[in-house]
Amino acid sequence: MIAVWAQVCYVVAAVCFILALKGLSSPKTARRGNLVGAFGALLAVVVTFIAYDIDNLGWILLAVAFGAVGGAMGARRVAMTAMPQLVALFNGVGGGAAALVALLELSEPARAGITRPAGFGDDGWFAYSPLAESGGHTESEILRMVDLLSTGTLTATAFTVLIGAVSFSGSTVTFLKLQELMTGRPITFPGGPIVFGAVLVAAVGLGLWAVATGSVTLAIILALVGLLAGVLLVLPVGGADVPIVISLLNAFTGLAVAAGGYVLENALLLVAGTLVGASGTILTRAMAHAMGRSVSSILFGAFKGGSTAGGGEASDRPVRSAGPDDVAIMLAYARKVIVVPGYGLAVAQAQHTIRELVDLLEKRGVEVGYAIHPVAGRMPGHMNVLLAEANIPYEQLLEMDTANGQLRTADVALVVGANDVVNPAARTSPGSPIYGMPILDADHAGAIVFLKRSMRPGFAGIENELLFDPKTTLLFGDAKASLTALVSALKSL
């Protein structure tokens, strides 16, 4: 057992984590909250180096330096649009680390030649625990190793290994999807759910077997099955649901870390992991709710069947398109324009150009606001971050309810690189996979202008009826190029 002062420091660190989550829940305190969390983590790590008897110090510090530089550089350099996949990646490596830690802990008694008799009962075993075969280990070390092989600790070990592996591979797949290294669409194959079910049953069976025997080999096989389960879990999830799965896997990693804390008898890991597991679960539900979905529908059978049929293909129905000059005139002589920004805006890095356009319009006396859908961008709240980066005043960002009120009286809704979040099918066609998702009622505005690259459907892969509405005008092209053209057209009016 480690020194009391160190345990007290762990309590302080745990309080820091609680305050961090609390702070992160409110815009005013969010940044401070994050710093408090970072301080807690730093304290915990420093205390660990001092309080535990740490060998291989040079190597460990080297590894820490390597990870710290890599993590900080990745986090600093990544484009804000690529943030969601980076978070997925960080989450995955955390899960992987937890699984490795648990495996190594389990291997310790085996390497010392201590095994446990097969079965689930511990009674009678502790009595004859093989103190005699000490092999250079102290009595307390041996007692610790015997404890590692108790049923309770082995259960926690198996849990950490399995869930950590699921989180690692699942997050890796979400990373690949969001980075567009593989298709972002749901991947299903015949019998997929049966295969997944079989893998889950195998995982539970293997887990029980590993607990009953304390076998390292079985635990490694369990990790491999976990990796497979993670891949199968995420493959059928596609489109706008991917971020919700990141949040779910985040909660998973938290639980894996918590169980790892039980294995290591480290209360800090237990508390930190549990906090993340619990808050992550709530957050996942809140995110799913913002999209009008349930978590189970996302994981099992969302976007299934014919819903994405024809997804990714351009429709050849007639639409009305216009040049930048016509659109500029529409905007300049409107009284109120509501901008609906979407991921296309961010991809084109057009946040600054849209701001220029809005400034020009405001100079002409046009009232302008930004309607922010909760899941605009690739993650809830992502769009707020992207627009804030372009120094767009906070007051101009309208949350959905306010925005929908404003859209009713707006002359023009300018939809830039968004699609699914203004698709009226969410309100009107119960058969649509996005039915029930709250949307921005761009169709209530006097006129709608879409800046789009092509007629291809949005992230969810569903055709948008609004594009064919008589009130709608389309301006084709890359968002940034179109906005630049609009700006120069406005200037010359």
């Binding site: 989550l21 992160l24 829940s25 409110s26 815009p27 969010a30 940044r31 710093l35 969390g37 970072a38 983590a41 180096f49 535990y52 008897d53 740490i54 060998d55 291989n56 190597w59 460990i60 590894a63 820490v64 990870g67 993590g71 986090a75 600093r76 990544v78 804000m80 943030m83 980076l86 960080f90 955390g94 680390a97 490795l100 830690v101 190594l104 310790e108 804390g261 039980y262 290591l264 209360a267 800090l268 890991l269 237990l270 930190a272 549990t274 906090l275 993340v276 808050s279 992550g280 679960t281 709530i282 957050l283 995110m287 600054h352 809830p380 709240g381 707020n384 971050v385 120094n391 949350e399």
Partner: protein, 103 residues
């Protein structure tokens, strides 16, 4: 086994704290909150360091060091990327804005 029960108690209480602490969060902050929570579980670094610190074979040490690197990536990267997101919500930085605008 009282040690185990004590840890179980801590676990149950932490579940309730975790539920409670994020119960009222605006959707604007979902992404930073997720990212911040993600950073917090990087504290598994503590576990990785403990395991690496007791490794007495080269093979074990190598695996433990991999765990240390992965956990540090999670911990440091997580807090830095969260801070970067939240920076955008905070005070405006005119010089940075000018630089961005010039691109």
């Amino acid at each position: 086994m009282t040690e185990g029960v004590a840890l179980l108690t801590v676990f149950v209480l932490a579940v309730f704290v975790g539920f409670e602490v994020v119960s009222k969060v605006s959707s604007t902050l979902h992404t930073p909150l997720m990212s911040g929570a993600n950073a917090i579980h990087g504290v598994i670094l503590v576990g990785a360091v403990i395991v690496a610190g007791t490794a007495d074979e080269a093979g074990v040490l190598v695996v433990a060091l991999i765990a240390v690197v992965l956990a540090t990536l999670n911990l440091v990267g997580g807090f830095v990327v969260t801070d970067r997101m939240l920076e955008m919500f905070g005070a405006r930085r005119p010089e940075a804005a000018a630089k961005d605008g010039a691109e």
